[in-house]
Symmetry: C2
Subunit: 296 residues, 2 copies
């Protein structure tokens, strides 16, 4: 199977699983269920859940064991976009070619839909895969901790707080730290969760974590480059917005050419980490290449 077919197959599995994870009416009030579904089914690359599944496969595990964590992380990613788009944050009215949730459902309901998606992520990871096997129960609890830590104050929410409060004052190191928290932490948690649920040993989990950290950095560098290059239609959001807002970007710090070279260096380091753990012969490096060569 070539990479394109692999990604499409995994994406379809994820979409199908996401259809089943949200609580439905009447238990979940219809107005809230609709809002949560609106954002969750808006498409997107599904990079994080695919990385989670590929990490489970890379350690010889069963994808099905990792699917709940994969979906949970996509719920968390979706909530982060909803809250990030709010008027009090980035104030974005379009996302993936559609009006943002607060535009169609109101700010209050958008806040609640984000809260609901975040919370359901943890309910899902606690519930599934359903098992009383003590080893799997321990893995599930470990993954709850990994994901919560990555998504929380020392991770993604902390990165958002830096971005909200003082991005223009950051130097190159500060930018790297901010993105490491805001974007990198959840990408790493995606890979680690998959490796843990797949039954990977400590060395395998550490190697996959190191590779995913490089993927996360490459992802952000490429994101900045695409933003500057103004692929507005493909990105489905306003191009050049970050640069215009005075937020430091990799192209602004290093130029476009050097930025692209830095992304390629990330892939080299990821390759080395995976080779040391004899995990280079997996889909993970393909996913890394996809991150670097993507056009949206």
């Amino acid at each position: 199977m070539d990479l394109r077919a692999y990604l499409e197959a995994r994406r379809a599995e994820v979409e199908s699983a996401l259809e089943r994870v949200l609580p439905q009416p009447p238990d979940n009030p219809a107005v809230l269920a609709d809002a949560m579904r609106y954002s969750l089914t808006a498409g997107g690359k599904r990079l994080r859940p695919i990385l989670c599944l590929a990490s489970a496969e890379a350690v010889g595990g069963d994808r099905a064991m990792a699917m709940p964590a994969a979906c949970a992380i996509e719920l968390i990613h979706t909530y982060s976009l909803i809250h990030d788009d709010l008027p009090a944050m980035d104030d974005d009215t379009m996302r993936r070619g559609r009006p943002t949730l607060h535009v169609v459902a109101g700010e209050g309901m958008a806040i609640l839909a984000g809260d609901g998606l975040l919370t359901e992520a943890f309910a899902l990871m606690a519930r599934e895969p359903r098992t009383s096997d003590a080893a799997v129960v321990a893995r599930k609890l470990r993954v709850v901790g990994v994901v919560a830590t990555a998504a929380g104050a020392i991770g993604m929410v902390g990165g958002q707080a830096i971005d909200l409060s003082a991005p223009a004052t950051l130097d190159a190191d500060g930018v790297r730290v901010m993105h490491g928290k805001k974007t990198g932490a959840l990408i790493r948690a995606s890979a680690v969760s998959g490796a843990v649920m797949g039954g990977g040993d400590d060395d395998a989990v550490a190697a996959i974590d190191a590779a995913a950290a490089e993927f996360g950095l490459a992802f952000q560098i490429v994101d900045d480059v695409l933003d500057v290059e103004g692929a507005s239609a493909e990105l489905g959001k306003t191009a050049g917005k970050d640069a215009a807002a005075g937020k430091p970007t990799y192209p602004a710090l290093y130029g476009v050419e050097r930025s692209r070279a830095m992304a390629a260096e990330c892939l080299d380091r990821a390759t080395a980490a995976l080779e040391r753990a004899k995990l280079a012969d997996s889909r993970l490096l393909d996913i890394g290449r996809w991150i670097i060569t993507r056009s949206n």
Copy 2:
């Protein structure tokens, strides 16, 4: 120990534990850490964590085993107040006698502080109590599920969504359902979490859950009565606001006298549930009486 001394002792334990659970700078950006701490240390009755600890004691368990869950639930309660107070929600500028977080830190940071508190709750429950004992690991995962489900779309967030979208159209049954989600679910989860972490068997957990459901209903009825009676200074928020906003309240539906009688009936049913499980000789009924007789 009389009830007052018992509550004060437990409250002091909870305050002390809460001081230690939040991630600190530099891992947690100072601006976010300050915002999270501002709301978490604003006082309050600490009803939920105390109920959690008392439930662990009621089944013969160790309070220390339940303390992480107790603190996690207080983080979740605090996040819910922060988001509920936002301009897009209830638009409250005062809480517990102090300006609300969005007034002092801005809306964006208040949203993030709420997100951070919610997420850290799950990180905390996954992390502590630190153990590799398989039975305790299984209890911790169960509690993560109980709390997430209670706090999520079929629970607290769902109740908020009903309250935001259509409270004025609710009949008496609808009001009961809304409050059962918005307030009752997390109070029940507090008691159930304590009973589970304390090692209670299925019958004990079910009895404590039933009693806590009654406590939750009584709590809301008394809240409405206090709101109508205008104990503004003691509540630290604007009295009569719910009634003025056209939101249905128990006194509006049943009158003050009948409402107070209904709260007392809740305590009777809670007593019966606990007696059947031989758990009536615990602090739980004291806490129920406190809920009904409180003046703030």
